[in-house]
Structure formats: structure tokens, C-alpha cells
């Protein structure tokens, strides 16, 4: 299956804009669930405003949130998909810059020391492009995530001790939620990385934070841990926007990796309530858009 790189560029533009405007159905369902159970009047009013905002964005074909984020593209490649990998990355970067110029969008990306903004949403190492492979031979999937800074600002890594066990992981997650308060734009998806190396652990926390609601960790131990944490996180009372209530998080998601005998790493990365994602899927039948 041969891939047309111009089509990849166009799709990379399209999915950035789509991600900013259309909230995935699992997040909308998450709002419905939280709204039905919220007991705090302020929290209920804030959830109501958030839900109204989703409708206004759709009606006005406007962005859900002003924060266009750091653009992340997750590419998953099937065995029969043929393309030049270097040029694919170029095509994605061009599509990202075109979305910014042509819509136009606020470029939220600057050089880390000069703070120079190229007004393309691109720069050294950005967009972030992650490459992986799948067992679907005739499919190329590109997922786009505009990662907002309110939630990204609150990211943590702790290289805990093996002797402190799983209690250290649980305590760390709860303390991160408390420290984040309203700064991460709750209700959030709390992404937890457990194990691996330091960098893999942080990466896993991002994978967890951006995983669709209702999808469980494929490691049974991770699934058990995220179920336990999800059951209690909303008892803290942080609430929507940190102004009190039951709806602190949609869920806690955990991703795991094997680690060294001396290590017990845990990382937390959060996704805000504007938990935006979109996807372009290339198959022999053509290109389709979804979440």
C-alpha cells in the first residue's frame, strides 16, 4: 500500500484543526456522567458552562479552547504500508505549519531560550512525532493531540524506592492531584506512568493521559491500579476548575513498563477537560477521519 505524501500533509493540517474543534465522543460521554453525579452547586454550574462551550464551538465551528497546544502526531504503521519515513515527517510538519498559517491558529510554540515564535506551531523537535507499528497490515493511522499547557505544566516524575512499593505510587498520584488543584483545568484525565526508565515513564504518563476514556490498560496489574485510583480520586473534593466538587477527574489511567530491579519510577501527566484528539486513517479504501 503506497502512501501519497501530499495527502499526508493535507490530512496533518486537517486533523490539527479538527482536534481543536471537535471533542471526541468518549469525552462528551464523560462529561454527561460527571454532570449526572456532581453534588456541588459551583461544580455543577462550571460543568454546565463546559458542556455549553462544546455546543458553541460546534455551532460556530470555533476552537474549543484558545490553547492550540504543543502539536503531537502519533503515527502507527502497518506492515504493507510503503513510504519514505523522512519525507513522511516532513509532510506532517508542513501540514502542521499550514494549519497554523491558513486557519489561522495561534502558534503556541517558541524556542526554549530565545522565546522566538516562528508562528508555525513548529520548531526544533516540534511537532512531536511518535512512530510505532501495528498488526493491521494495510493501515496507516495518524493521531493528532494538541497538548495544552495548563495540564502539561503540571507534570511530575519520581524515582521512588523499590522498598516503598506500590504505596509510594498511589501516594504520589494523589499528592500530584492535590498539588495541581485547579491549575490543570479539571476535570482531568490523570495519566500515570509506572516503571521503565525515567524518560519512558514520563512518556507512558502522556500515553495514559491521552488514551480514550473507557479503554483499560492492557497490563492487568495496571488495569487494577487505575481502577482503584479512579474509584477514590473524586473523593478529594478538588472539583471542576479547583473550585470544589466531586468532578476532579474523568478517570485515572495507568500505563506500565518493566523496570530495573533497583527502580520504582512513577510519573504523572494530566489531560485537561478539553481532552482533544483526532485521527486520520489511510487504508486501501482511502482516507477517513475520526477520533
Amino acid at each position: 500500500m503506497k502512501i501519497d505524501l501530499q495527502q499526508v500533509e493535507d490530512a496533518s493540517k486537517e486533523i490539527y484543526i479538527r482536534a481543536l474543534k471537535l471533542l471526541p465522543p468518549d469525552i462528551k460521554a464523560g462529561f454527561k456522567r460527571l454532570d449526572a453525579t456532581e453534588t456541588n452547586a459551583t461544580g455543577k454550574a462550571i460543568l454546565g458552562t463546559m458542556i455549553r462551550n462544546i455546543t458553541v464551538a460546534e455551532a460556530n465551528t470555533n476552537l474549543l479552547c484558545q490553547d492550540t497546544g504543543i502539536p503531537i502526531y502519533n503515527v502507527v504503521i502497518g506492515a504493507n504500508v510503503v513510504f519514505d519515513g523522512y519525507q513522511l515527517k516532513q509532510a506532517i510538519t508542513k501540514g502542521c505549519a499550514r494549519a497554523t498559517k491558513e486557519h489561522p491558529l495561534r502558534s503556541s510554540v517558541v524556542h526554549p531560550t530565545t522565546r522566538q515564535n516562528e508562528h508555525t506551531s513548529c520548531g526544533r523537535g516540534v511537532p512531536v512525532i511518535n512512530i510505532d507499528f501495528s498488526d493491521k497490515p494495510d493501515e496507516l493511522s495518524i493521531e493528532m493531540i494538541p497538548k495544552g499547557s495548563g495540564s502539561e505544566f503540571n507534570s511530575w516524575l519520581k524515582m521512588a524506592l523499590p522498598a516503598d512499593g506500590i504505596d509510594a505510587i498511589k501516594t504520589f498520584v494523589i499528592d500530584c492531584v492535590l498539588e495541581a488543584g485547579g491549575k490543570t483545568c479539571p476535570p482531568t484525565i490523570v495519566g500515570v506512568g509506572v516503571g521503565g526508565t525515567a524518560d519512558l515513564c514520563v512518556h507512558l504518563s502522556k500515553v495514559a493521559a491521552t488514551r480514550p476514556l473507557g479503554v483499560a490498560c492492557t497490563d492487568p496489574e495496571g488495569a487494577k491500579l487505575e481502577k482503584e485510583l479512579s474509584a477514590v480520586v473524586n473523593k478529594l473534593g478538588v472539583g471542576p476548575q479547583g473550585l470544589g466538587g466531586d468532578s476532579t477527574s474523568f478517570a485515572v489511567h495507568v500505563e506500565t513498563a518493566a523496570t530495573h530491579i533497583t527502580l520504582n519510577p512513577v510519573a504523572v501527566n494530566m489531560q485537561c477537560h478539553s481532552a482533544r484528539r483526532s485521527r486520520a486513517t489511510f487504508t486501501p479504501q482511502g482516507l477517513s477521519y475520526g477520533f
Binding site: 463546559m50 484558545q66 490553547d67 495561534r106 479547583g242
Partner: protein, 207 residues
């Protein structure tokens, strides 16, 4: 819990009447300000030509489109999507904004801390919590970008918006020491031990 309609700018007396859990809706003028704007104003010695006395600022960097200066868009910018960013990063600028420029209202999300709280108390100011991430809705409250200053910092320029029915916004910090964020934070920290016990954690010291 009272509701206030403010035609901007306001006086200190108007601000002193307001208490946490009240709501406020703003009309007429609102300024947009952000990290880089304030870094340049307070750390790099730059000045704005705008008169901010008695006004409100919102922590923002909007999505705009350059369309050229017209009657409908006197700044040359058409608003696309205007929302609000996390205030916490800009804590140290609250007092100089109030002392040097006479700002009375800060609009943001996530709240501010003790230094801002004391500035609100000493000088007469309030913090209004907007719903972060609800920018499509917020944009409908903005009629026009009237003027822009320090635009080399775009999108972190100093923006002058003409607004209509901007709110209702929740008063989260007032000029009498009231602070909803610290109240909620205390409740949440008090719930910590119970939550950790429910997770079967034996020691509740910080991990």
C-alpha cells in the same frame, strides 16, 4: 451571593463591595495580558500607552486573524478564539499591575496565591474565575479588538477588547481576605488521609 454588573472602569469603592461567591459581569472594556507582556512591562522596563486605571485584565493570548485596519476591526485583528490561561505563573505581577497601573480586577483560571491576596486587600482588587477551556463561549462575549500594544510579543501582546456581557464570572478572591481556592484546597488536603486509607496505603507521609 450578589450579582454585579460593572461598566468598566470601576472604583475602589465598587470593588470593596464585592465578596467571594458573588458573581460579576463586565461591559465595555477589557485588557488581555500574559506572561511575556508582563515580563517585558516589569522586568525589561517597557511601558504601555494604555491607561489601565480601574480596569480589568484577563490572562490570555488569543487566536486572531490579521485583516487590516477597518472600521469593524480598528486594531487590524479579527478575533478568532479568545480564552483564558492559568494564572498561577503570573502571581508576582499582580501587585505591580495594581500599584503601577491601577488595575482593579484580574480574570483568570486556577487562582492566584498569597502575594496577590495581600495586594487585593491592601489596594482594593478582586480575582474573577472564568471557566478555563471554555473559549468558544468566551469569544462570543467579545465584540471587537479595539487596539493592541507591545505587538512584537504577539500573541502575548497587550490587547484592548470591547466586550458585552462578559460573564457571569465567579468572585474567587476578594479584597477582604476571602479566597475560594484556599478553602477548597484545605478541604481536599483534609480528605487526603481518608483517600489514601481507601487505597490501602499504610503510611500517609508524602511519597
Amino acid at each position: 451571593m450578589a450579582h454585579f454588573e460593572f461598566d468598566m472602569p470601576v472604583t475602589e469603592a465598587q470593588i470593596r463591595e464585592v465578596r467571594v461567591n458573588d458573581t460579576v459581569t463586565l461591559n465595555q472594556t477589557l485588557y488581555g495580558i500574559r506572561d511575556a507582556t508582563q515580563i517585558h512591562m516589569f522586568d525589561k522596563g517597557r511601558k504601555t500607552r494604555f491607561d489601565l486605571r480601574g480596569h480589568a485584565v484577563v490572562h490570555t493570548a488569543p487566536n486572531v486573524k490579521w485583516v487590516g485596519e477597518t472600521e469593524a476591526h480598528p486594531s487590524g485583528y479579527e478575533p478568532i478564539c479568545i480564552g483564558t490561561t492559568t494564572s498561577a505563573r503570573m502571581e508576582r505581577f499582580t501587585r505591580p499591575l495594581m500599584e503601577q497601573y491601577g488595575v482593579r480586577i484580574i480574570i483568570g483560571k486556577g487562582g492566584l496565591f498569597a502575594a496577590s491576596q495581600s495586594a487585593f486587600k491592601d489596594i482594593g482588587g478582586i480575582y474573577l474565575a472564568i471557566v478555563g477551556g471554555a473559549a468558544a463561549l468566551e469569544t462570543t462575549w467579545i465584540e471587537q479588538i479595539e487596539e493592541v500594544d507591545l505587538d512584537d510579543l504577539n500573541p502575548e501582546s497587550l490587547w484592548k477588547f470591547r466586550i458585552k456581557g462578559f460573564g457571569p464570572l465567579l468572585v474567587a478572591m476578594d479584597s477582604h481576605g476571602g479566597n475560594l481556592y484556599t478553602e477548597v484546597n484545605k478541604v481536599a488536603r483534609d480528605n487526603r488521609a481518608e483517600v489514601l486509607a481507601a487505597l490501602g496505603v499504610k503510611s500517609t507521609k508524602s511519597a
